[in-house]
């Protein structure tokens, strides 16, 4: 399932990484934040919307190593951020889609306003397709569900592909095995 997900997600311009442990994925994430020069200045923040994978102090301490990482996601902070981090609920293998429960405004702001969207995903939550999703997620329990397939794109000018027209230019998906099911 993961292999197909990776192929399809990369085909639409997403970047997909896989880690066995939470610790390894966090190391990768921190190095990514540093590589992207996240700092405490408008335009260079990173906003972190709640990700159940990582609890409290596990990540709160990161602000020491990465100043500019913000956990209080407001529209202004998200606008001034280079990176937004969220956790996806599901992955759909046959289209390379991530599925986000978007009721909380933080999830929507962090995934749609910054230049780079980093989505954490439990590798075990990759399912086959849209039909499989409808069996798992019901609108009655989710007032806003977002399906995200690759970065924001347009071909409105001469059918030429351009990335990042309104939303993120890059979508980085970090799959983590450790969480089990």
């Amino acid at each position: 399932m993961y292999d197909m997900f990776k192929v399809k997600a990369e085909a639409v311009g997403s970047e997909v990484h896989r880690f066995g442990t939470k610790a390894d994925s966090l190391n990768f994430l921190v190095s990514l934040l540093k590589r992207e020069e996240i700092k405490d200045a408008p335009g260079f923040y990173a906003v972190w919307a709640e990700c159940p994978i990582f609890q409290g102090s596990e990540v709160k301490n990161l602000t020491k190593t990465v100043p500019g990482l913000k956990f209080d996601v407001t529209r202004q902070l998200a606008k001034d951020s280079k990176i937004g981090v969220t956790q996806a609920a599901w992955g759909l293998a046959n289209t390379g889609t991530i599925v986000q429960s978007s009721f909380a405004v933080e999830q929507r702001l962090a995934s749609s306003l910054p230049w780079i969207h980093v989505a954490l995903l439990n590798t075990g939550n990759i399912i086959a397709d849209l039909a499989a999703l409808t069996a798992k997620v019901h609108p009655k329990k989710n007032d806003y569900t977002a399906l995200i397939t690759g970065p924001s794109r347009t071909a409105d000018i001469e059918r030429v592909l351009a990335i990042g027209v309104h939303g993120p230019e890059r979508l980085i998906i970090i799959c983590i095995d450790e969480m089990g099911r």
Binding site: T74, R75, T95, S102, D143, L147, G150, P151, T154, R159
Partner: protein, 708 residues
């Protein structure tokens, strides 16, 4: 045809940006790739069933959607007219003090000219879909459902943006997109209200599904504190699971993607970042949709999912673009929607743009028979306003066999000053347009029915009746002769029922269903008179009448008593190539030994391929006798003949022909073959005018003398 309309076609033809863009995209291949591994027929059958049955209960679905969505916390307004929808929004703006609005794409809002209305009310309204924004800046309407600014070049867009941001910009597309991002980002943050459309509205759960590639619908639904979604009633489906097939097809058909980048499923109001809850309004808009649902024929148009695939494959749309259609909706489906949402009269001219090739019907994920509905529009217009006198009288002449005959014989003499080697290359004065790009065939000195009497046939128990059709009768009698001689080789005796006349397709295609039904009535009895094994036609257009349309047209015209006979006839009718291919397989026809014949490409006539489904048989038969087959690109795209289309829309017809001739020329063959005399007139005339060495021939001509 009105002058203004003729002028708009003329202008459109001068601007071929769109055709170039569509060519570079290569939609047919990209689409096919997106659908790889998916049973498209099964998928679209499922969509047609879901949306078809939903359209039987639009009001009930709207009511249950309203009930559920309101329980979820949304406010739902069922608007019957455009007026009601617009008033609801302006009142809301007044109550909430809305000064600025951002919009993501909503064709329903275009349909009611919402932007114009809001701006008049003093409310700043900005489109945020890149294409829609460009079109708004250019003060134009969208030329395509999915890609509204497809008709503009990057240079033109750069000009528009430069004016908007007050500084000169380059023509680099990536940079232009970034300029739009920056400009529009601020508008999102400043707006008091976001307006969106929706692609699917699920009654069971009160959910709206909104699909965008740019992600602007998410911002429209997230950043302003008020969200208003305008939803046409045809977007309603009963169940949550109904969303799946529609979402599977829409991205593939619309943009050849497996999935659109951003899909939002919104079921109720969500929090803003200050802790307040979104003020969420849904306008369910009727604007004649329930009226349309009550119309037996047009009900199926509500199965449209607005993917635009019908535009992408339409040979006319690629030439003229979207604006000649006049209103908001473009292309074939747009013509149909305009007739309902606007008025029938508005389609008087644009319905004539459809050549009836049927390409759109093949790809429609809603399984809508667009050409049939256009024909129905034509029929209703003809009923209401009558056919133009000149067509009506021409069509009456065709139906009167004796008169038609006499006139054509007279024409065969009168044409002499212009004719050479079977072609007319120059016509005087007002007729010159007809022979500008294509030589016209001459009327044969001896019609087929006279020639037939002179053919010596062996007597046989196995008999078939030959239906020649007008073109073989008067222009290509030699094709008829070849048919008879080949069938004789298989031990079949051919009868020619003398009382036969025109098949009625020209009448049908002009919307004169009554005259087409008369043509059917006139022919059925003589064709079934002798006990024959088959009725053979070598003309794809006549085959469409005999094999398919006669029973329908008789039903439409309340001549039901003739339907059983028409159905017997339909079952008996075969196309020449169909029969020959079968005879070859049964070894009743055997090719002469060791024949290596010339190279050949095959043009599928629209009628043969998409109406009667005969396209493998002629190829197999021609290869079996020894021809080397080389397929051309777009082998089943219309050549532009379309019966009287070439007379009514000569410029479009010729543009289609030019493209076809290029595709034929690129194969480097000796012959192009088609089992349709109409196509042969078009192709042979075009090749002659270009002084090409390639000859256009009917399969019967190419196979004559090739059997033992």
């Amino acid at each position: 045809m009105k002058k203004a309309f003729a002028k708009s076609i003329h202008t459109a033809l001068k601007n071929q940006n769109l055709a170039g863009i569509l060519d570079r995209w290569n939609y047919p291949d990209a689409r096919a790739k997106a659908y790889e591994g998916i049973d498209f027929e099964a998928l679209r059958t499922q969509i047609a069933e879901i949306k078809g049955s939903a359209s039987n209960h639009l009001n009930e679905l709207a009511e249950s959607f309203k009930r559920v969505a309101e329980a979820n916390g949304a406010k739902v307004f069922h608007a019957h007219s455009p007026h009601e929808a617009k008033d609801y929004i302006t009142n809301l703006c007044k109550t909430k003090g809305v000064k600025k609005i951002v919009k993501s794409k909503s064709i329903a809002s275009e349909e009611i000219h919402l932007n114009k209305h809001l701006i008049k009310e003093g409310i700043q309204t900005d489109e945020t879909d890149l294409g829609e924004w460009i079109v708004q800046l250019a003060n134009q309407t969208p030329s395509h459902f999915v890609m509204p600014a497809l008709h503009l070049t990057k240079e033109e867009i750069s000009g528009l943006f430069s004016k908007e941001v007050n500084k000169p910009l380059s023509n680099d597309i990536q940079q232009l997109v970034k300029v739009a991002r920056k400009e529009l980002r601020e508008k999102f943050f400043d707006a008091d209200m976001g307006i969106s459309g929706a692609n699917i509205a699920i009654a069971e759960t009160g959910t709206l599904v909104i699909v965008t590639n740019e992600g602007n619908a998410r911002l429209v639904a997230t950043l302003p504190k008020i969200h208003v979604a305008i939803v046409g009633l045809e977007k309603l489906v009963p169940k949550y699971s109904d969303m799946v097939p529609i979402l599977m097809a829409l991205p593939k058909s619309a943009t050849s993607q497996l999935m659109t980048s951003s899909v939002s499923m919104i079921t109720g109001p969500t929090p803003n970042d200050d802790g307040t809850l979104k003020d969420f309004h849904i306008i369910l808009m009727d604007n004649k949709r329930t009226e349309m649902a009550k119309d037996v024929k047009f009900k199926q148009a509500l199965q449209c999912i607005r993917c635009g695939s019908c535009l992408n494959v339409c040979p006319v749309y690629r030439l003229v673009g979207g604006h000649v259609f006049g209103h908001i909706y473009n292309g074939g489906i747009g013509t149909i929607l305009t007739a309902w949402f606007h008025e029938l009269k508005a389609t008087e001219d644009i319905q004539g743009l459809c050549i009836g090739c049927g390409k759109c019907k093949e790809v429609c994920p809603g399984k809508i028979d667009i050409p049939e509905l256009i024909l129905e529009l034509r029929r209703r217009l003809a009923l209401k306003q009558g056919l133009p006198f000149i067509y009506k009288s021409a069509l009456s002449v065709i139906n009167n066999r004796r008169l038609f005959h006499t006139m054509l014989r007279a024409a065969s003499i009168a044409q002499k000053p212009f004719a050479k080697d079977g072609f007319i290359r120059h016509l005087p004065m007002f007729l010159s347009g007809l022979s500008e790009y294509r030589s016209l065939p001459t009327i044969a000195p001896l019609p087929f029915r006279e020639m037939f009497k002179k053919i010596k046939q062996p007597k046989s128990k196995t008999k078939v009746a030959f239906f020649s059709g007008c073109a073989i009768e008067f222009v290509f009698p030699k094709i008829g002769e070849a048919v008879v001689k080949i069938l004789n080789k298989a031990g079949i005796e051919v009868l020619f029922p003398e009382a036969q006349s025109c098949c009625g397709i020209p009448h049908w295609g002009s919307g004169a269903f009554d005259m087409a039904a008369l043509a059917a009535a006139h022919n059925i009895k003589p064709l079934l008179e002798s006990d024959v094994e088959h009725v053979v036609t070598a003309c794809a257009t006549c085959a469409t009448a005999l094999k398919k349309e006669w029973p329908h047209v008789l039903k439409d015209e309340k001549m039901e008593t003739l339907i059983p006979a028409a159905e017997i006839l339909a079952a008996k009718t075969v196309m020449f190539s169909e029969l020959v291919n079968r005879l070859i397989k049964e070894k009743r026809l055997v090719a002469k030994d060791g024949q290596t014949l010339q190279r050949l490409t095959y043009h599928d006539s629209c009628h043969a391929k998409r109406h009667v489904g005969v396209y493998k048989e002629p190829r197999e038969a021609l290869i079996a006798v020894g021809y080397e087959m080389k397929e051309m690109s777009e082998n089943d795209t219309c050549c532009g003949m379309g019966g009287s289309y070439t007379v009514k829309q000569p410029k479009l017809s010729m543009k289609m022909l030019e493209r076809k001739l290029k595709n034929i020329g690129d194969t480097g063959v000796d012959y192009v073959s088609a089992e349709c005399p109409g196509c042969l007139i078009q192709l042979a005339g075009g090749l002659d005018k270009k002084k090409s060495k390639i000859k256009a021939k009917h399969p019967a001509e190419l196979m004559q003398d090739k059997f033992k």
